[in-house]
């Protein structure tokens, strides 16, 4: 009997497609962000606010994933940016192949930012690279402060935490400082922004973060084409 070392990722095929997507995004100077949260934390509302308030001239597109229905795509189409729905038909996360297929025929060259709204789930999306520049995790104040400790994988792999629904803080027993401390126990230094997609509070910080990341991607593209 021989023991043969393999030493490679289980999700090798997904990672291969994701690496190809990442190279295409980089070549076109597109900032791709993968939005992850529990169901109902406000990913779609955040995108509505974002599309509504994005700086004029920025070219944005959205892929939105759900297990069933195209309700989110219909909500987001009102803002006249390109939107495509990915219906997974039962799968609890998006994978790189779904993103790759959904992008067929879309000219990435004309885009500045591509938002990918993942299926509402804090577990499985953490394991699947979609070729994004960064994952953004949305936590809402109607959940528990200990969610980062219960679902450490996604908080560890995210580059930003948005704490949403802060308009409800006077009405719910949620300690925002404790939630941020918990997130940083899992991911030291994780930046966090407090926002309300209902009132718009904190959204200027989100737009500033987006602008910074977008400039970094554009600079990297300019540097690589010199």
């Amino acid at each position: 009997m021989d023991r043969v070392p393999l030493e490679r990722k289980v999700l090798n095929e997904n990672d291969r497609i994701a690496a190809d997507l990442r190279a295409r995004f980089a070549a076109c100077g597109v900032l791709c962000l993968n939005l992850v949260s529990s169901p109902g934390a406000g990913k779609t509302s955040l995108l509505e606010r974002t599309l509504d308030g994005i700086a004029p001239g920025l070219r944005v597109a959205v892929l939105t994933g759900d297990i069933q229905t195209d309700h989110d795509a219909a909500r987001l189409a009102r803002f006249h940016f390109p939107v495509r729905q990915i219906t997974t038909g039962g799968t609890c996360h998006l994978d790189a192949r779904m993103v790759d297929r959904a992008l067929v025929g879309w000219p990435l060259e004309g885009l500045d930012i591509l938002f990918v709204e993942n299926v509402g789930n804090l577990v499985c999306p953490a394991g699947y690279d979609l070729g994004e520049e960064a994952k953004v995790v949305v936590l809402s104040v109607t959940e528990g402060e200990d969610k980062p400790l219960k679902y450490p994988g996604i908080f560890f792999r995210s580059s930003l935490m948005l704490l949403n629904k802060i308009d409800l803080l006077p009405f719910v027993p949620f300690d925002a400082d404790e939630a941020e401390r918990n997130a940083r126990r899992v991911h030291p230094g994780l930046p966090a922004l407090r926002v309300s997609t209902l009132t718009g509070a904190g959204l200027p910080d989100w737009f500033a973060w987006l602008g910074d990341r977008r400039r970094q991607v554009a600079l990297a593209r300019a540097a690589s084409s010199v």
Binding site: L6, R8, C92
Partner: protein, 126 residues
């Protein structure tokens, strides 16, 4: 929740690798699962058994190596398992230590019975 897909990816890899050993029988596959991997080991075993039963891989054994979250201290080079998210270096007390592992979801090894001897012969890294 997604362990069926992971089990399926493991089996795809086993079938691809098996092609290199014509006539051999794959007996065991080793998988590393990190603490941050978001994989439930019991669910993975359950899915693995369901996907191999009554197939060409019936009887294939799955060995899961669970890998805890580890940090490394940049000051004293100590690598340690992080328990309860306590990331302070246990040796020198430094607070800001670096991630050093725990997000694995890796195929580690295959055991292939190539000559029917049934005796494991380990080669290379494990």
């Amino acid at each position: 929740m997604h362990e069926i897909g992971i089990a399926s990816s493991v089996l795809d890899a086993v079938r691809a690798e098996r092609a290199r050993y014509p006539g051999g029988r794959v007996c065991k596959v080793g998988v590393k699962v990190g603490e941050l991997g978001g994989v439930d080991c019991d669910a993975l075993r359950f899915c693995f058994d369901a996907l191999t039963r009554d197939t060409d891989l019936d009887g294939l054994e799955l060995e899961i190596e669970y890998c805890p979250l580890r940090h490394r201290c940049p000051a004293c080079d100590e690598t340690f398992a992080v328990e309860q998210f306590e990331t302070r270096c246990p040796r020198c007390g430094r607070l800001d230590t670096e991630f050093a592992g725990g997000d694995e979801l890796d195929l580690a090894y295959l055991e292939v019975d190539v000559d029917g001897s049934g005796t494991p012969r380990t080669q290379g890294a494990q």
